[in-house]
Structures are given as C-alpha cells and as structure tokens.
C-alpha cells in the first residue's frame, strides 16, 4: 500500500500513510475444541462430563472447507462437533453452560458469494442462531446473516431498515462492541447483521445472496470493510445456561 508522508512543524511531525492492517480477532474468535483423527467423518468431541471445563479452541480445513469451533472461557457441559462429507457438519450439545460458535465454510469471505446450504436438522433450546458469519477489516466489522435461531430472535435496539431477498425479508441491525480484546489488542468494532423476520425452513436447499445484504447494509449507512479476506462460515452459535441442541447442516 502506498505510503504518504507529511512533514510539518519544523520537521517534527510526520504523518504516516502506511497501511495499519487490522488483523482481527475474527477467525481467532471463531475457534475450537478438540480435533479428532483425520478419518471422516471428523469428530471434534468434548469428552468431559458436565460441570467439567471443556477445551475451547480449534479450527482447520476439511474437504476443502474451513471449519472452526470456539467455546467461551469456563464453559462446561457436553458439546460434540463433527465434520461430515463435503461441506457437512453437525454439532450436538447438552447441559452446556457458556457460549460456543462453530461451523464450516470458507477460509476467506467474499462480498459476492452466494451461500448455498441445507439445514437438515435444527433444535436449539437456548439463545443462539444459525447464520452466515464472518469479518471484514478496514474497518473491522463482524457480520451475520441470521437464518434460524433458538430462544430469541437476534436483534438490537439499533434497527436500520430491511431487505427482501432469497424468499424472505430480513431486518437490518447494528451494535457496537466497545473496547473488546483482539489479536490487535483492545479494539472497538461494529457488528452488522440481517435477521429474517421468520425462521428459514428446515431440510430445504436454501441460498443466501450475500451481495444483497452487503448492498442493503451500505444503503443503511453500514458499509462493511474493504478487506473481506477473513474466514466466513455457516455458523451455529449457542449461549446460555443448561442449553442443549442439535444442528446438522451442509454448505456449498
């Protein structure tokens, strides 16, 4: 990237133009648990009994798809992530206390990708969602397209309109994460998300035309960053106390 140099105040002040690339916590926040052997399906189980802390972090590549699993610090309960064939994965959890995110997708995002998926099974009794999820840099933004959810529909107090696409209507929301830790140190960043007004159906081939969301967000004053190279996945997230559920989904 070009550097811009300004000298002022009798040569004392120099303003820089070099890129300060924000290496976000993004892919790191989406981390994982315990990876099994290379055999397929690839199971990433939590072997621990309820009330015993689970391992919290793992990611990798399976059948050419990026996948990751992250659990919050101190999370307890049972949680098993399994990579299936092609872009398939499943996640099963019970008696889970804390927050986890997991999913399968691509090692880099794209503003023009059409995400095809089929959520064959879905049950989620706590908070959480099933969504297309990723990050951008410049600026640092965390984005979601929420297709399905658990106990409560993902929303925020800052609604910025809606967009109709792919057979549904989505409300557009935004929220700030202030002074949050990241691999860059403490940072403030914006979350931007679309949430369907009603949940997408189970066991159907569905599409998410991501460009329609990107354009709608930009029109709502929420442009995502110019660098969308961080990973993007079909995400399952759960949070709460004593949660349980099962999701089996494929992405392509």
């Amino acid at each position: 990237m070009n550097k811009k140099l300004l000298l002022a105040k009798a040569t004392r002040k120099v303003a820089f133009g070099a890129a300060a690339i924000i290496v976000l916590a993004g892919s790191s926040m989406l981390t994982s648990c315990k990876k099994g052997a290379e055999a397929k399906p690839e199971e990433v189980p939590n072997e621990s009994a309820p009330a015993k802390a689970v391992q919290s972090y793992q990611s990798g590549t399976n059948n050419g798809y990026f996948w990751s699993l992250w659990k919050s610090d101190g999370a307890t309960g049972t949680c098993t992530y399994t990579n299936g064939s092609n872009g398939n994965y499943s996640i099963s959890w019970s008696g889970f206390n804390g927050n986890f995110t997991c999913g399968k997708g691509w090692s880099a995002g794209s503003k023009t990708r059409t995400v095809n998926y089929n959520c064959g099974s879905f049950s989620m009794n706590g908070g959480g969602s099933f969504a297309y999820y990723g990050w951008t840099r410049s600026p640092l933004i965390e984005y979601y397209v929420n297709e399905k959810w658990g106990g409560s529909r993902p929303a925020s107090s800052d609604r910025r309109g809606s967009v109709s696409t792919d057979g549904g209507t989505y409300d557009i929301y935004t929220a700030l994460r202030t002074n949050a830790p990241s691999i860059d140190g403490t940072q403030t960043f914006r979350q931007v998300f679309s949430t369907r007004t009603s949940q997408a159906p189970t066991a159907q081939n569905r599409s998410i035309t991501f460009a329609n969301h990107v354009n709608a967000w930009a029109s709502a004053g929420l442009p995502i960053g110019s660098d969308i190279s961080p990973s993007a996945i079909l995400l399952t997230e759960s949070y709460g106390t004593g949660t349980s559920g099962y999701v089996n989904a494929s992405v392509w």
Partner: protein, 277 residues
C-alpha cells in the same frame, strides 16, 4: 537587611530551579539525538529527519500516574506496572497536570466542554477539543514520527524488527509470554485469560539501542497524532504504537502502525511521555 534579601532571593531561585527539573539530566529520560531515519525497516527511512527530543525511558508507571492524577484506573495493579485503561484524553490531561506540578508550561489545552469539530469518529464518545501550545516546555505525547524514530534506535539503530532486537522474546511482553506459561498456536482470548496474561513491571526486558524499555510490547503507547493512511482520514482515530501484552507479534514491530479512537481504553493501552528540548 540587604543580606537577608539576597538570601531570600537565592532561596527563591533555588526553589524554582528545583521545581523545574532539568530533563536533559533526568535519568528517567533519554535525550534522543535527531537526524534522518537510519532504521532500514522504518516507514520513514530515507523520508525525513527529526530534531533532538527527550523521551521517557519507560512507559508511565501506575506510581507516576497516581502521584499526578490521584487515581489508578489500571486493571492490573502494581506501582511498577505501566498504567493502563487510559484513553487519549486522560493522557493529555496527565501531561498537563504533570507539567503544572513541575513548574512547566502545559503543552496542551484540553477543553472538555467543546466537541472537536475535526473529530469525525463514530466510536469516540468524548470528542474533547485539544489544541497544542507548540512553544510550551511541558510534557506531551510523542508524535508518531518521534515514536518510530526512537523505537527504531534513532542514530544508533541496528535496524531491528522489534525495538532492540530481532528476537521478540528478548524485548517485548506480548500475548505468548505475558502469562503463567508460554503460549503457542493461535491467539485466543479465552486462553490468554486462563493463562493470566497481563502487564509486566516496566524495564524488565532488554532496552533498545537508545536505552528505551518496552517500546515493543507491555502496553500500547498513545501518540499525539491523528492516524492517517490511504483509507483513514485525519479526525477518526489517534495513533498508538508498539503493541501490548494482549496483541500479536506484528503489533510489536517498530514499523507497525496502529490506531484507536481517542476515547478508547483497555488493559493494554498506556503511554510514554516526551518533551522537546
């Protein structure tokens, strides 16, 4: 009577002299000889030069902060630990109050009642107006150019990647070595928390070519300037440099540029003070 007046006059002179610390001889400051950038890894190599300036040998400690401000906002407490969880405005305020306490003319004018019209940050919840008194002799934050020059070793530079070494472990506290055990693998906040990663006593790693400690790592250091690059205009974020105990290796490199909204604060955000000569 005449002798009495002379004695009083001498005493006053002595008092003033004592109050106005001579920073050129202050062991807590390093006089940085100006000149062109000699660190070949610097963004400014071959692109300019600086006059001499004075910069703190260490990051401002909690003991130093508390003595001036009467409070300690830091998450991790300890006299010799760097102060943290301070925003850019807090640091400007600190510079001025320390200047006043030591009989120096404050370098900044901080107006908390007027929103800065230049500040266009969507994240800065304060937007106080700060102007510079360029002829003042008080404490100030380093400019980004000064910071990079000093971190890179100034005229004594050996063109290290990190401040004082090509081996980060020798000179910096960062996410892998700031906790109970050395960490490997991929950065993850949960792991850092579990490993009790945190700030460390200032000056406990090897100094750089100029005798400056912790320019890489420990806490990120606020600089005076607005951050600017090809994608970021002035008026959005302030520059901070050096990386801290939370962040990755690249943030600890002398040439790595970074920024934060001026009202931002975190347990890895501190400062080092500077002043002209």
């Amino acid at each position: 009577m005449k002798i009495f007046l002379i004695i009083i006059s001498l005493a006053i002179t002595l008092l003033v002299a004592c109050k106005q610390i001579n920073h050129s001889e202050d062991p807590n400051f390093v006089r940085v000889q100006g000149g062109a950038y000699t660190n070949t890894q610097s963004n400014l190599y071959g692109k300019g030069s600086l006059p001499d300036f004075l910069i703190g040998k260490n990051e401002v400690t909690q003991k130093e902060w508390t003595a001036i401000m009467g409070n300690n906002p830091s998450k991790f407490k300890g006299d010799s630990l760097p102060v943290e969880t301070v925003n850019w405005y807090d640091c400007v305020d600190y510079c001025n109050k320390r200047s006043i306490k030591e009989g120096l003319k404050p370098y900044y004018t901080l107006n908390k009642n007027t929103k800065d019209p230049i500040n266009k940050s969507e994240f800065d919840s304060l937007k106080f107006t700060v102007t510079v008194n360029a002829d003042a002799n008080g404490y100030r934050l380093p400019t980004e150019a000064e910071w990079e020059y000093a971190a890179g070793g100034g005229q004594k530079s050996k063109s290290y990647k990190y401040s004082g070494s090509n081996n980060i472990e020798e000179v910096a506290w960062y996410w892998k070595n700031s906790g109970d055990k050395s960490l490997t693998g991929t950065w993850n906040w949960s792991i850092l928390e579990k490993n009790r990663c945190q700030t460390k006593a200032v000056g406990s790693k090897k100094p750089n070519e100029l005798g400056l400690f912790d320019m890489s790592g420990n806490v990120r250091e606020w600089c005076e300037d607005w951050y600017q690059d090809d994608e970021t205009a002035a008026g959005i974020k302030r520059t901070q440099r050096g990386g801290g105990w939370i962040g990755g290796e690249n943030r600890c490199e002398c040439s790595n540029r970074h920024s934060f909204e001026a009202s931002g604060k975190g347990a890895d955000q501190g400062l080092r003070v500077c002043k002209g000569i």
